[in-house]
C-alpha cells in the first residue's frame, strides 16, 4: 500500500471536517502552550533569582569562625576568636583559587552626624571588599593600604546612610560621622545597589579599614569573618578546599579533626534557591502535563466517536479494497496529523502567551527550547497512543456489518 495515498486519504478526511479537527486539536494546543508557558515562567523566576545572586557576587566565599566546643557548650560564631589577621594574610598570600580576600569585623551602634542619627554598623574590611561585593564608588574615594596600616579614621558610606545622616542633601564627603564616640571622616559614597533578593537594603552600609574597626571601635584582635571571591563561580569548590587546607594548617588542626571555622559560599545559597524554583517549575510542569494528558484523551474521545460515526465510510472503504491495516493507518495518520498540527499551534500559542506575560505582567520569562521539544514530542506520542485504540477498533470492523450500519 502506498503511504502517500494513505496520507492523502487521511488529510482529505480531516479537511472535510475542519471544525471537528480543530476542536480536537484545541486540547493539544492548550496543553502544549501551557507546558511552554509554565516552564518559561518557572525558568524566568529561577533566572531572576540567579541574577540577583550574581549581583551580590556569585563567587563570593564567606569564612566564619565556628564548630568549636568549649566544655561541651557550642559557642556563637561572633564570640569565637579563632580567626586572626594572620589567617587573612595567609589566605591572601598563598591562595591560588582566590582573587580577592578581605577581612571582616563589624561594630554596630548609633551613627551620629550633627543632629541626625541612624542605627547601623561599621564594617571593617580590606580594600578588596569593593570587588568582592561588587560595590562601586559613586563619589569620593576608597581608603588605601596606608589608611589600613595607620588605622586611620576614615569611612565610605552607602546611599541609605548618606540620606539618613545628611537629609538636607549636602555633600557628605569630608564630613565627620561618629560611632561610639569615635569620629570617622567620610571619604567616599558607594553607588546604590538597592535591595537584594532577601529584602536587605544593600545601601545601608558603612565600610572602614579593618584595623580601624578592630583597634579603635572594638578593641579586639580577632576577625569576625573573612570574605573572599573565587576566580569564578565554578571554582568555588576548589577554593573552598584550598581555604580549608590553609586554615587547618594555620590553626594546627590535624586530619580528621573538626575545623574551627565554617566556609559558606553563595553557591549553597543559590543551590537552595534553585531547589525552590525547581520545585516551582516541576509543579507548573505537572499542571501543564495534566492538561496535555487531557488533550490526549480529547483526541481519543473524538477519534473514538468518529469511528462510530464513520462506520459506513469504513465499510465502503473496505468494500473497495482497503485492508484492515489501511484503515488503521488512516485513522492513526489522522490522529498524528491532529496532534502535530496541534503541537505546532500550541508552540506558537505558548510563545505568544509568554510574550504577553512578559510585557503585560512584567514577569521574567525564559522560553526553554527543551520544553517546546518535549511537549511537542509528548503530544505526538499522545496522538499515536490515544489514536491507536480507536484506529484499531475501526480496522477490526467487519465490512458487511459496517456497510449495513445505520
Amino acid at each position: 500500500m502506498n503511504g502517500t495515498n494513505l496520507f492523502k486519504i487521511a488529510f482529505k478526511a480531516l479537511s472535510n471536517n475542519k471544525m471537528r479537527a480543530f476542536l480536537t486539536m484545541l486540547g493539544i494546543i492548550i496543553g502544549v502552550a501551557a507546558v511552554i508557558t509554565m516552564i518559561a515562567i518557572g525558568q524566568g523566576a529561577k533566572k531572576s533569582i540567579q541574577d540577583q545572586i550574581s549581583e551580590m557576587g556569585s563567587n563570593i566565599i564567606m569564612i566564619h569562625p565556628g564548630g568549636e566546643r568549649r566544655g561541651g557548650v557550642r559557642l556563637d560564631a561572633s564570640e569565637m576568636q579563632t580567626l586572626k589577621v594572620a589567617d587573612y594574610e595567609a589566605l591572601r598570600d598563598e591562595s591560588i583559587f582566590l582573587t580577592k580576600v578581605s577581612p571582616n569585623v563589624s561594630a554596630s551602634g548609633q551613627l551620629i552626624s550633627g543632629n541626625n542619627n541612624y542605627p547601623s554598623s561599621v564594617n571593617g574590611v580590606g580594600i578588596d571588599y569593593l570587588d568582592i561585593r561588587q560595590l562601586k564608588l559613586d563619589e569620593g574615594e576608597m581608603f588605601t593600604e596606608e589608611d589600613i596600616r595607620t588605622s586611620s579614621k576614615v569611612c565610605v558610606i552607602g546611599t541609605t546612610i548618606r540620606d539618613e545622616l545628611f537629609p538636607d542633601g549636602s555633600n557628605p564627603i569630608g564630613k565627620i560621622i561618629r560611632l561610639n564616640q569615635v569620629p570617622l571622616r567620610v571619604i567616599g559614597v558607594l553607588e546604590s545597589k538597592g535591595y537584594n533578593s532577601m529584602g536587605m537594603d544593600q545601601d545601608d552600609i558603612v565600610i572602614a579599614p579593618y584595623t580601624t574597626v578592630m583597634k579603635r571601635l572594638l578593641a579586639v584582635t580577632y576577625l569576625q569573618g573573612i570574605f573572599a571571591s573565587a576566580i569564578s563561580e565554578d571554582m568555588t569548590e576548589y577554593a573552598t578546599a584550598e581555604i580549608t587546607e590553609i586554615l587547618n594548617r594555620q590553626h594546627k588542626i590535624g586530619e580528621g579533626e573538626a575545623s574551627d571555622f565554617e566556609i559558606r559560599s553563595q553557591k549553597e545559597l543559590s543551590d537552595m534557591l534553585n531547589t525552590t524554583t525547581n520545585l516551582l517549575t516541576t509543579l507548573l510542569a505537572c499542571i501543564a502535563g495534566i492538561s496535555l494528558l487531557v488533550g490526549g484523551i480529547g483526541i481519543m474521545n473524538i477519534m473514538y466517536v468518529s469511528v462510530t460515526e464513520r462506520t459506513k465510510e469504513i465499510g465502503l472503504r473496505m468494500s473497495v479494497g482497503a485492508r484492515g491495516i489501511d484503515i488503521l493507518a488512516q485513522f492513526l495518520i489522522e490522529a498524528i496529523l491532529i496532534s502535530i498540527t496541534g503541537g505546532i499551534l500550541g508552540i506558537l500559542t505558548g510563545c505568544t502567551a509568554c510574550a504577553a506575560v512578559k510585557y503585560l505582567a512584567n514577569w521574567p520569562v525564559y522560553i526553554q527550547t527543551w520544553s517546546a521539544v518535549l511537549s511537542f514530542a509528548v503530544c505526538t506520542i499522545t496522538g499515536v497512543f490515544f489514536g491507536w485504540y480507536p484506529a484499531k477498533k475501526a480496522s477490526e470492523l467487519d465490512p458487511i456489518d459496517a456497510l449495513r450500519y445505520e
Binding site: M1, N2, N5, K8, I9, K12, N16, K312, E313, G315, L316, R317, M318, S319, V320, G321, A322, R323, G324, I325, D326, P399, I400, L403
Partner: protein
C-alpha cells in the same frame, strides 16, 4: 464458449445465532461467464444478501468452492480478499455510499487510492474516463451533497468501473430511485453490458429481470430457477414511454 468469471460449487453458508444454526445458503451452484448480465432475485430471507456478500468476497462460505476469475476465494485471508475486491470487483450499493463532502472525481478515485501500483496521473485519467462513461464528464468537481440521487448512483457506478473489475456487483442499485431515474440507471447498465462487462444485479424487483440476459431465482437458500432471457427488453425504449415528471 467465453471465459467463466464466477463459479460456485455447492456453496453453503451457516450462521450461528445464539443456540440456533441458520442455514442462509444450502448448496448453491452456478457459474457466470464473461459478458453476462445476471439478475439474482429472491424475497427477503431467500439468502440473496448472503450470496452477494460471498460473491463480493466480503464473506467466505462455510463449505463449497468459489472461484472468482479462476482464483479460489474460500481459504483467502481477510487482507487478500480486500486486495481481490480492489482489483476484481466493483460494488454499486442501494444507498450509493459516496463519501460525504467529497467531489465526484475523488469518490471515483477511491478504489485506486488503495492500489499502490497506480500513479496519481493514471488514477485521475481513469477516473475522468469512468465518469465520462456514466455521462458525468461535466460534473467532476461536484460534491456528493450537490447531486441528485441518479447522479450519485452514476458516480457510484463510475467508482465500480474505475478499477476495470472482472465483475460489477449491484445491490438493489435502483432501489432508492424513482421509476424514471431507475430506468436511466438501467440504461447505463445495459450500455455497460453491451460493452462486454459482467454484471450481477441483486434485486427483489421482478421487472428488472426482463432487461437482463439471465435470471437466477433464490428461495430458502436454494436456486429454484435459472433461466436465460431470450427476449431482453431495451431499457431505453421503456424510458421513452415514461413521462417526464414535471411537478
Amino acid at each position: 464458449m467465453s471465459k467463466t468469471v464466477i463459479e460456485l460449487q455447492d456453496i453453503k453458508r451457516e450462521f450461528i445465532v445464539g443456540e440456533e444454526t441458520v442455514h442462509a445458503l444450502r448448496g448453491v451452484s452456478f457459474s457466470i461467464s464473461e459478458g453476462e448480465f445476471v439478475t439474482i432475485m429472491g424475497t427477503s430471507g431467500s439468502g440473496k444478501s448472503t450470496l452477494l456478500n460471498i460473491l463480493g468476497c466480503l464473506d467466505t462460505p462455510t463449505s463449497g468452492e468459489y472461484y472468482l476469475d479462476g482464483i479460489s476465494v474460500r481459504k483467502m485471508t481477510k487482507n487478500k480478499r480486500a486486495i481481490l475486491r480492489n482489483r476484481k470487483i466493483g460494488f454499486v450499493f442501494q444507498n450509493y455510499n459516496l463519501l460525504a463532502k467529497t467531489t465526484a472525481i475523488e469518490n471515483v478515485e477511491l478504489p485506486l487510492m488503495y492500489n499502490g501500483e497506480i500513479s496519481a496521473a493514471e488514477r485521475r485519467e481513469r477516473s475522468i474516463n469512468a465518469l465520462k462513461a456514466v455521462g458525468l464528464g461535466d460534473r467532476l468537481e461536484h460534491k456528493s451533497n450537490q447531486m441528485s440521487g441518479g447522479q450519485m448512483q452514476r458516480v457510484a457506478i463510475a467508482r465500480a468501473l474505475v478499477n476495470n473489475p472482472a465483475v460489477i456487483l449491484a445491490d438493489e442499485a435502483t432501489g432508492n430511485l424513482d421509476t424514471r431515474t431507475s430506468f436511466e440507471i438501467l440504461v447505463l447498465f445495459q450500455k455497460l453490458h453491451a460493452e462486454g462487462r459482467t454484471i450481477i444485479f441483486v434485486t427483489h424487483n421482478p421487472d428488472i429481470a426482463s432487461y437482463s440476459s439471465r435470471n437466477i431465482r433464490l428461495r430458502d437458500g436454494h436456486v429454484i430457477e435459472d433461466t436465460i432471457n431470450g427476449n431482453i427488453l431495451s431499457a431505453e425504449k421503456t424510458l421513452a414511454t415514461i413521462p417526464v415528471n414535471d411537478d
